[in-house]
């Protein structure tokens, strides 16, 4: 191996804002991406609150139909293209080199370029709000012919298309850098089957970025041409082609938005159980099977089009239950026999698994065409994917934040505020998203700014709208926690939780080249746990010998 020959990036000659903006340090790029994603999260959350205000009651006139259509389009687009997906990449950029014992990223300048391209895409997308005809307003998947130049004319929708295109290119490039880093920068001894669980989830995720994002890049390019007289997506076949291409990206991205957060929850659970992750080999196999299968399930979004082979996609989609079930088995078996510390990160990790399960089980439900014929495009589906993306991924994200914040900043977050945030968010999340299953089953269509005064609908929607505010309160509690914890710092030290993977062998925060001394020997996917076990065994052996002599 050539780990010693790893080219070392020159120390940045500029400091301050310019230094941070031009840095080639993977941690800085990851932080830049993560912080910008968080800002977009706040923006997307604001859109959600405005939407929920409009539909809190059946026939409100808080915003116009046109504004509402822009709000749900931009809420979905912001959350998917500018928060959950890039945040998954940000976690990978920051953590993967540390976990595999690398000093830097492969092609860091390319990764930095990817970040800037993505950010430009995000800003271009949001700038569509400033145009005379308003922001993108054809939905986050912008089906043709609704999104073409005839049905949604104007610069706003063009900016939306260009924004998505650039964001996709940026994320594709960054994903490639993570994969290359895993391929080329692993420390001596760090074989593939010794990579930490999070790194495996990041690898599965970034491989999917590489495989699926080109479809989005192509379909957005074609949509742009189509909008300007290109006549690309013509007739029924053209419309189905658009949906096939879009969902060939659109479903894998769901798992890009899931795996790294699963990895974060898994690390939090194994560290706080003081046991290594259970069933590593099976887990790695299942995550790769998961990734492979999820590249072949896309047309379950199209069961009601009459243009796809429903049985095939029902088969692949339902089969996802097998690898998903293995992940749950591993999570529970990791806790069995452990020594559990119920820190905030652990509780977020557990909540991730419990709440995501509701999203996963309803996913099996919508994978059945006959059931989907009723619930497709209804609030049932909205409930389903918010349980995966918000009740799942965002809780996994916070598990990761509470777990790695001390590593990134050198300071501990406040546990009491963290648990308060968790409690608020559990209440808010389930009150917001669970009633959606009932509404959808009862026939409420998605994306409507006003709805009929059907018995019960007003009440359930009002509950959801109030609870959306509770979620916002939870996020606010988190921001207060960050503020308090950084102002009055409780130093974390390199390894506050008895970590198991290499990032905990680095100082907190890690210096520019990550490790300030030799790496510990890497003999498994939990090298620091191995060391502790060895030390413990040696001590008890010596103690026994002392007694014997």
């Amino acid at each position: 191996m050539t780990a010693t020959a790893t080219p070392v990036p020159a120390q940045s000659r500029v400091s301050g804002w310019l230094g941070a903006a031009t840095s080639t340090d993977h941690k800085r790029i990851g932080l830049n991406l993560g912080l910008c994603s968080l800002a977009f999260f706040a923006l997307g959350g604001l859109f959600a609150l405005l939407m929920r205000s409009q539909i809190a009651q059946p026939n409100e006139h808080f915003v116009s139909d046109n504004t509402y259509n822009q709000l749900f389009t931009m809420h979905g687009s912001t959350m998917i293209y500018l928060f959950v997906t890039p945040m998954a990449i940000a976690l990978a950029l920051y953590l993967v080199p540390l976990q595999i014992g690398a000093a830097s990223l492969t092609a860091p300048r390319l990764a930095s370029t990817g970040f800037w391209v993505w950010l430009c895409g995000g800003l271009i997308m949001e700038s569509s709000w400033l145009t005379a005809d308003g922001a993108g307003r054809a939905g986050w998947f912008s089906y043709v012919p609704l999104s073409n130049g005839t049905n949604t004319p104007g610069v706003g929708q063009d900016l939306w298309v260009m924004g998505v295109l650039l964001a996709a290119i940026g994320m594709w490039v960054m994903g490639g850098c993570v994969v290359a880093t895993i391929g080329r920068r692993r420390a001596p001894g760090m074989s593939l089957m010794r990579m930490p669980v999070f790194t495996w989830t990041a690898l599965a995720s970034m491989l999917m970025v590489l495989g699926a994002f080109p479809a989005l890049i192509i379909v957005m390019s074609l949509l742009f041409i189509d909008r300007h007289g290109g006549h690309i997506f013509v007739g029924f076949n053209g419309e189905i082609d658009y949906q096939d291409l879009f969902w060939f990206f659109g479903h894998p991205v769901v798992y890009v938005m899931f795996f790294p957060y699963l990895g974060a929850a898994a690390e939090a659970i194994s560290v706080n159980s003081h046991k290594r992750w259970f069933g590593y080999g099976a887990f790695v196999g299942s995550i790769m099977l998961f990734a492979a299968l999820s590249m072949s399930v896309w047309a379950h979004h199209m069961f009601v089009t009459g243009g796809v082979t429903n049985q095939y996609f029902a088969f692949t989609s339902t089969a996802l239950a097998v690898p998903a079930g293995i992940e749950y088995f591993d999570a529970i078996a990791t806790m069995v026999g452990g020594s559990l510390v119920l820190r905030t990160s652990m509780l977020f990790g557990i909540t991730f698994f419990v709440q995501f399960l509701i999203g996963g089980l309803t996913g099996i439900f919508v994978a059945s065409p006959v059931l989907d014929y009723h619930v497709n495009s209804s609030y049932f589906v909205i409930g389903h994917f918010h349980y995966t993306l918000f009740a799942g991924s965002v809780f996994g994200f916070f598990a990761g934040v509470y777990h790695w914040f001390p590593k990134v900043t050198g300071a501990l977050l406040r546990e009491s505020l963290g648990k308060l945030q968790l409690a608020i968010m559990i209440v808010g999340t389930n009150m917001t998203f669970f009633p959606m299953f009932i509404l959808g089953e009862d026939g409420m269509s998605r994306r409507i700014s006003r709805y009929p005064t059907h018995p019960g609908w007003g009440t359930l929607n009002l509950i959801e709208s109030i609870a959306a505010g509770i979620i916002a309160l939870g996020v606010l509690t988190f921001l207060v926690n960050v503020f308090v914890s950084l102002r009055t710092r409780v130093p974390a030290g390199p390894d506050p939780w008895l970590g198991q993977t290499l990032e905990w062998a680095a100082p907190s925060p890690p210096p520019p080249l990550n490790f300030d001394g030799p790496l510990p020997p890497i003999r498994s996917y939990a090298p620091l746990l191995d060391l502790r076990h060895e030390r413990h065994d040696r001590q008890s052996h010596e103690a026994r010998q002392e007694i014997a002599s």
Partner: protein, 222 residues
Amino acid sequence: MTGNRAAAALVDTRHEYQHLFSIYVPIAIGVFAVIVLAIAFCVLRYRRRPVERAARWNENNRLEGAYALALAGVVVFLLYLTFTAEHRVDTVSAREKPSVIIDVVAAKWEWSFRYRSYGITRRSGTVGRQALVVPTGEAIRFNLSSVDVIHGFWIPEIRFKRDVFPGITQSVTLMFPSAGSFQAQCSEFCGLRHADMLFDVRAVTPSAFASWARSGGKATVS
């Protein structure tokens, strides 16, 4: 129609859905309960033990393999049920001989329902609210087409929808098992006034439908 015997043989989408639902939902609730109980057990049983007591075992591939096989078994069972139901909803129903044919044309932002044999056209959406009148217990062929963007023809009462595309006419054969008045709404986002693409379905007895149709759609249906 020859009455109940023919009606009983027709595919009932509401029944197919509810049958599947009644099997999927208990399985989902059962799985959820088992996993939540297992997690709760772990949390209560293994919290705050000395770190040294944490077990070191970390694999049991035989057990996990058996578990994966059991999961695969559940998947096969669910797929069998789904495929059986889907065959009836998609294939068997299409072979039924319809007693009424209705051309459904979707446009921004209204539905029009044309009863070709009776020379009746009903419209609902931003232009007003004329109900789609159908006979109960009979096969009805809907020819779905759109003049502009994709719309969604969804009748929650019978648990069925099909997207309505421009440039193609797709046919579905549906049956309304019981009489009543039901709300329905466009399910595929279709632009500015998507929320107004509502319509009511009035399912009436075949004889009431016949007299309504004979009157050219002018008689009130009860």
